[in-house]
């Protein structure tokens, strides 16, 4: 099949949706399909051969955080041309409700359109304002996929209708083996965090508060951080006497991310909400890192109610500190969590997931019809 995939967020900035698109595209290649991806990208960004740039994304406030999005007449024209030249059997749009390439693609295309919804919100004010504008785009979508129960509920709440549930995949073997970073985790244990540091709902602040307690109780304990965000801002939140034990790698390569996961004794996911699946959790599970995660619904489900990773009450840094201390003192328990996680994560492997996605494509793709550009 010829499949055109639309990624709404900047290709070279790490993020759940981008990762999803990359892994899906590669899994589809592996099973013999032709794939072209269009995504925002900086002019000088190195792109894999199957990615077409829709131009630079612009940072703009959206739905409570700053997102890098691609919008405007120019992007719309590029998407239209890509669709016209691609003659795809199926157009697969990701996050069509975001003000970016997804909605532009729905606008420009006619034919079998599959849409995957990633985000979940309690109640998105941005989406409720968007209703009438999105309506015509939503009406063109033939098949809807949600990556999680929460994403599906968000979709039902805001747009009505339903969606099939196909969870995110993880290329588990990519994470399974890696050398720890030099000097890690060291003799005195280390905690780890991956994710955007300036995004409140990733919960880094909760972890830093817990480290204020833990770091004082355990003079050798270190904290390894990796992800985009302002390093000085993070540093300012740590007491001066603990600062040299908080190591911030900043934005890291995929390879170093995997190594970071193998460099810590406990991987902490302190997210305070808004997470629909938590790909980062599945990656940590694939790496076999013992996990301590906040007790949000999505995490509880992925961690099998706590069997594949310990849980602590959302936003409670005191409880985080207590739970982390228990894990740090209990090596057999960590080993057990790690083994359970590696087993549990197999259900999310991309090979399993991509097969289901292809079934969706086959359901909607016509025998002869291809995706064309629409008249309007």
């Amino acid at each position: 099949m010829r499949i055109g995939i639309v990624c709404p967020y900047t290709w070279d900035v790490p993020g759940g949706v981008q990762q999803h698109v990359r892994d899906l595209a590669e899994a589809l290649f592996a099973s013999g399909h032709e794939v072209s991806v269009i995504a925002p990208a900086d002019d000088d960004a190195p792109l894999p051969p199957y990615v077409v740039s829709a131009g630079r994304a612009v940072p703009v406030p959206y739905n409570g955080s700053v997102a890098r999005l691609s919008f405007g007449f120019l992007s719309a024209a590029r998407v239209r041309r890509w669709i016209r030249e691609g003659s795809f059997d199926v157009l697969h749009v990701h996050e069509p409700a975001a003000p970016s390439l997804g909605v532009l693609a729905c606008w420009a295309a006619d034919g079998p359109i599959v849409a995957t919804f990633h985000a979940s919100f309690e109640r998105s004010r941005a989406l409720s304002a968007a209703g009438p504008i999105l309506q015509s785009a939503m009406e063109k979508i033939t098949a809807r996929i949600a990556v999680s129960e929460k994403a599906r509920r968000t979709l039902v709440e805001h747009f009505g209708g339903d969606a099939v549930l196909i969870p995110n995949g993880v290329t588990t073997e990519r994470y399974a083996m890696a050398e720890p970073l030099p000097g890690w985790p060291g003799d005195d244990c280390a905690l780890g965090f991956l994710g955007r540091m300036d995004e409140q709902r990733k919960g880094l602040a909760v972890l830093l508060r817990a480290f204020e307690i833990l770091g004082r109780e355990r003079p050798g304990l270190r904290l390894l951080l990796a992800g985009p965000g302002d390093a000085d801002e993070v540093r300012a939140k740590v007491s001066p006497e603990l600062r040299d034990r908080v190591v911030n790698l900043g934005l890291v390569s995929e390879a170093d991310k995997v190594r970071a996961l193998h460099s810590v004794d406990v991987f902490v996911a302190p997210n305070t909400g808004g997470e629909s699946f938590g790909i980062v959790l599945a990656e940590a599970m694939s790496a076999g890192a013992p996990i301590l995660a906040s007790d949000i619904e999505a995490f509880r489900r992925v961690l099998l109610e706590g069997r594949a990773g310990a849980l602590f009450p959302v936003g409670d840094s005191g409880a985080l500190a207590v739970a982390a201390a228990e894990l740090l003192d209990d090596a057999p328990r960590r080993k057990q969590l790690s083994d359970e996680a590696k087993t549990a994560v197999r259900a999310y492997d991309w090979s399993t997931v991509a097969r289901d996605v292809v079934r969706v494509y086959e359901t909607v793709a016509g025998d002869t019809a291809v995706v064309e550009t629409s008249a309007s």
Partner: protein, 177 residues
Amino acid sequence: MPEVLLNIALLAAVVVFLGVYVSWRATRIDRLHVRLETARAGLDAALVRRAAVALELAASRLLDPATSLLLAAAAHEARIADSDNREFAESDLSRALRAVVDQPDFRGTLTSRQDGAALLDDLDAAVRKVSYARSFYNNAVTATRAARRKLLPRVLPLSGRAPVPEFFEIDDAPPES
């Protein structure tokens, strides 16, 4: 006896003078508060107007849907924000407007479409009025706060129960024209 009378007259004069002075100061503070309230109403109106024009532009079908979504979301946030979040939401709307209008050739493309030029004019006016209204309001806040910091208003309740006014601080830099 006449000396006593003179003292009484002097005292009366002082009391009258004090009364007049206090009442004059109270009137002045009252006037400043009226000016403040008027300025606040003007600022609110300007902000609501700006959000309304942004929404109108979003709904106009002159834009691509991604841009429409972005504007609609930002304008909606600004309109429903409570007083704690108002300044953030309005700043976000300013940033969203800049991101949209500062795109290469945005003005040219919009102007070439029907009703586009008029909407763009409305938007420019509304954006400009927000920064004017905010400046006037913050001036009124400065003046009121200065008057209330003087000794007399602090000793006597000349301001009634009116809370000390707060500045309205947002990013209201307009898009490039």
